[in-house]
């Protein structure tokens, strides 16, 4: 049976009708056209679907949409409220950390939460922070550099 829930997505209050088994990932892509959050595996193994739930990075493929009453979801599209690029996004572009780009948004969302409670992290901390995000193109090297740059505020 469908449920009606109210939640906040990227700063906007919205009402949603969801099936019991629907995931947040499915809802974001199908009902809202927020295609920046992506499906890579649907099983919490790749991180392409990472969003913020009440400010915390989670795999949206394993969050039940039905559990989201009064909660706050932020996707890559809502990372910056004003259309400007977040320092992480700029760093990813400038450091050459984007190749095919499919994993990029998930990693940026993970890194964004990580940097919100870890200022100026070292390389080891960064690598562990993104251990739940897979990339097949870049070898992570320039991704780590980009996060380091954004994290040091330079």
């Amino acid at each position: 049976m469908k449920k009606l829930i109210t939640l906040e997505i990227n700063g906007e209050l919205t009402e949603l009708s969801v099936e019991p088994s629907e995931s947040l990932l499915q809802v974001l892509r199908r009902q809202y056209g927020l295609t920046g959050t992506k499906r890579g595996c649907d099983s919490g193994g790749c991180g392409c679907c990472t969003v913020h739930l009440d400010g915390k990075a989670v795999y949206s493929c394993m969050v039940f949409a039905s559990s989201l009453q009064n909660r706050r979801v932020t996707t890559i599209e809502g990372l910056t409220g004003d259309g400007e690029l977040d320092p992480l996004q700029t760093a990813f572009v400038e450091k050459g950390a984007v190749q095919c780009g499919y994993c990029t948004c998930g990693i940026i969302m993970t890194a964004k939460e990580f940097l919100s409670h870890e200022s100026d992290p070292d390389e080891e901390q960064i690598r562990h922070a993104i251990a739940g995000n897979l990339c097949r193109c870049t070898g992570y090297h320039k991704i780590v550099e980009a996060i380091k740059t954004a994290g040091s505020g330079s």
Binding site: P20, G44, A57, Y59, M62, F64, T110, E113, A131
Partner: protein
């Protein structure tokens, strides 16, 4: 996939409501805490016949508290929240829990809960192995009231726990451990986002003379249907001064108490060998933490 056959997703706001729903749906209900393993259960065909998901996030079970019984951790406390709890961060006896919480990626730590993790009865998880070494007990709530279940009884089999149909996990409690206690946990995995091939938790409690009063050696991963306490190996450590030799003997003895499986991850022989090696390393690390 059975998940799409689920008909209802409930979000009760109190324990009584949960119990009512369990009464109504019985075996066709699944309690959901963080929900990070529901798809995993589905992939293993363990959701067949489930009609209702009962999400208990809103029933107020989200605290870590010091009580007379010990450190109480409510079912809905996430890994991230537990990591931050002062006792877990600072006290040497909780070293194993600290270690176990380092392994899962950030996205899992933010969603996964202690209650959900334990109730899953998955031997490849890390937290169950770690907390078993600290003699943690499970708090369960049923229509007749609450009861305490020790972990070895709680883990009844592969993905099977000892709960009655109308009960659910409300939290775990870490009993007070002897003053000089320390623990450590090590996981063997193929990459940084993996289920354990083997994992080991070691806890030692010593008296002022450095003689071991109590030892717990718990092995999980693919070594059995549930995490296993290597009692014979523990007995070798207890009463000893934990010399290199004794620790080595105990590590070897762990091997005699296990009958691991071979699967596409690792052979039984490798798991057996690693259980011994990791035991030695975990005990040594716990000893270090005593200092």
């Amino acid at each position: 996939m059975s998940l799409t056959n689920v008909k209802e997703y409930f979000t009760p706001s109190g324990k009584d409501e949960v119990l009512e729903l369990l009464q109504t749906y019985g075996d066709s209900a699944l309690i959901v805490a963080g929900g990070s393993f529901v798809h995993g259960l589905d992939a293993r065909d363990l959701l067949i016949g489930i009609d209702a998901l009962i999400d208990i996030k809103n029933i107020g079970l989200d605290e870590v508290r010091n009580t007379s019984e010990g450190l109480s951790v409510d079912a809905l406390v996430t890994f991230t929240e537990l990591k931050k709890a002062g006792e877990i961060k600072d006290r040497p006896e909780f070293g194993a829990v600290r270690d176990a919480l380092e392994y899962p990626p950030l996205q899992i730590r933010n969603l996964a809960t202690i209650g959900g993790n334990i109730a899953s009865a998955c031997p490849y998880f890390d937290v169950p192995t770690a907390i078993m070494a600290l003699d943690a007990v499970v708090q369960a709530q049923g229509p007749a009231g609450s009861r305490t279940i020790d972990l070895q009884s709680f883990f009844a089999g592969l993905f099977q726990n000892a709960l009655e149909t109308n009960e659910f996990v409300t939290g775990i409690t870490f009993p007070q451990l002897p003053a000089r206690s320390a623990s450590a946990f090590i996981k063997l995995e193929s990459n940084a986002n993996d289920l354990a091939i083997v994992n080991v938790a070691a806890r030692i409690s010593v008296d002022d003379a450095g003689v071991c009063q109590a030892a717990r050696l718990v092995v999980g991963g693919g070594v059995a249907e549930t995490p296993v306490r290597a009692a014979a190996a523990e007995a070798l450590l207890e009463g000893s001064t934990l010399s290199e030799e004794t620790v080595q003997k105990a590590a070897e003895a762990v091997g005699t108490e296990l009958d691991p499986m071979s699967d596409h991850r690792a052979s039984a022989a490798y798991r057996l060998a690693m259980a011994c090696t990791l035991t030695r390393r975990a005990v040594r690390q716990a000893i270090e933490r005593l200092k």
